[in-house]
Amino acid sequence: MIKFDNVSKIYKDNYVALGDINLEIKAGEFVSIVGTSGAGKSTFLKLIYAEELPTNGRVFFDEKPLDSISRRRISQHRRNIGTVFQDFKLLNKKTAFENVAYALEVCGISRAEILEDVPQILEIVGLGNRQNKFPHELSGGEQQRVAMARALIHKPSVIIADEPTGNLDPVSSLEIMQLLLKINKLGTTVILASHDRDIINKATKRVIVLERGRVIYDEEKGKYKIC
């Protein structure tokens, strides 16, 4: 489904964020990307949702090279991918419902569809009774679940989670992880970048370790490992 073919990303002053990455992520997989800060985890994810383009090599999504997508088509590509971040990226002046609905509004979905889909997805992430709360009225874990609901609303084939538990307590972290595993079980590919040793080890899924922009470990049912 996602293929990195000899991919390098070099920023200004010859800073190599990623070098010679060759790997494949199959549909329905759950992959954890592990590494210290600056190892290239975020760059790896950005290449998938086409926020960045590789300096060398190619990234394929559903066998299509992402560098061949025109700027106008990138928004279509992003609707296939749900993204979740450490800082939630919620709009503070909108309620939980409105934050999720916003993702549909900007894509031109009708009001009727929004009213049908949004409560459903909020129910799935366990916020059925918290729909009208503003982000500041929700706990960190709940805010992250709103973000998850927003990521899922387009029924994407891939969920990218960049340190989703970074700002959460251990219990909330576990809940988010369980939600990601549940989503994965329903058939969505999940790519998780994280520092959290415990939750990655408990998942017993594929682990890719990055160090200074290179893959140094890639195991099915792997363990959190930083050399």
Binding site: Y49, R71, S75, R78, L91, Y102
Partner: protein, 302 residues
């Protein structure tokens, strides 16, 4: 498509309302720009009207010696009428000339009295020649100098009016030049200020823009609210500018009609209302769009 348009227009309108002082600043500069342009337009329009009025009054009078017969004058008239540059020729007999002179001298009884004392009509019969274009009077003059009936001509009068027209023509083109310069300057200033305002709006909405991009909003959807915001600045400014122009004309109505008798700027304003308003709306919307476009290009990485 319609939904996207409605949502982005609403977004632009909300930006406009929430920007407070920034919106006021942007609209004020745009207003100044549009008001200047339309005032200058009205001034040039008035001057053009005055000029046209004067041009209608311009003519060359060819006076014939008293010894010349009416038959010869009629022959000269026919001759002149065949000349390409000439629009119309009118024959004024000695008696008609006297009538006109008396009419013009009603307020000067001394002149009328002395005319009576002379006892006979001292005036000459003449032809009033109108050219197609005021610039052709020189050619008509040249023609008269070499005409077959040149010996019959006593004198020709045309210089005075021509100088006045030349002066007015010069003033109008000067006003046009200065107007264009000032309008251009204001346009550039409002372009800069509006693009700055939109830039600040984009900056204050950067989180929303980031989220929009992440959830797959199209570039058009991200851009359009800011473009509409710019257009709204232009529209609001043009409506206020029309109002200001009306108030200014109303207040200066008497002063202007004293300065240029026979000209009513308010009538001119209303008869050209659609054109002036359309011009302002177009200019405002164009300036608004252009400045938003610049701001987005620079600050929105899409």
């Amino acid at each position: 498509m319609f939904l996207t348009l409605a949502r982005t227009i609403k977004g632009g309108w909300i930006n406009f309302l929430r920007n407070g002082y920034l919106s006021i600043a942007a609209v004020s500069v745009m207003l100044l720009c549009l008001f200047t342009i339309s005032s200058l337009f009205l001034i040039v329009l008035t001057a053009d009207n005055v000029l046209k009025g004067m041009q209608g009054n311009v003519n060359v009078s060819v006076y014939f010696k008293s010894s010349v017969t009416e038959e010869s004058i009629m022959k000269a008239k026919k001759d002149l009428e065949n000349y390409n540059e000439v629009k119309a020729v009118e024959y004024i007999t000695k008696d008609q000339a006297l009538e006109i002179f008396k009419k013009n001298s009603v307020s000067k009884p001394v002149i009328l009295q002395s005319l009576e004392e002379i006892g006979e009509n001292p005036l000459l019969s003449y032809l009033v020649v109108q050219a197609n274009d005021p610039n052709q009077y020189d050619m008509v003059g040249e023609y008269l100098k070499n005409a077959s009936f040149k010996e019959d001509i006593s004198w020709v009068n045309y210089r005075d009016n021509k100088d006045r027209i030349d002066r007015l023509n010069g003033t109008i083109s000067e006003v046009r030049r200065i107007g264009l310069g000032v309008a251009g300057l204001f346009s550039i200033i409002s372009l800069l200020i509006i693009s700055n305002t939109v830039r600040i709006t984009i900056y204050s909405h950067r989180k929303e823009v980031e989220v929009m991009r992440l959830v797959g909003a199209s570039n058009a959807y991200i851009r359009l609210p800011f473009i509409f915001e710019g257009i709204i600045y232009g529209l609001v400014a043009s409506i206020i500018s029309m109002l200001c122009l009306f108030i200014a004309l109303k207040l200066s109505e008497q002063f202007i009609s004293r300065l240029i008798p026979g000209i009513n700027m308010l009538t001119l304003y209303f008869s050209n209302f659609t054109m002036i308003f359309a011009m302002q709306v177009l200019a405002g919307a164009f300036l608004g769009t252009l400045s938003s476009w610049f701001a987005i290009r620079k600050y929105l990485k899409i």
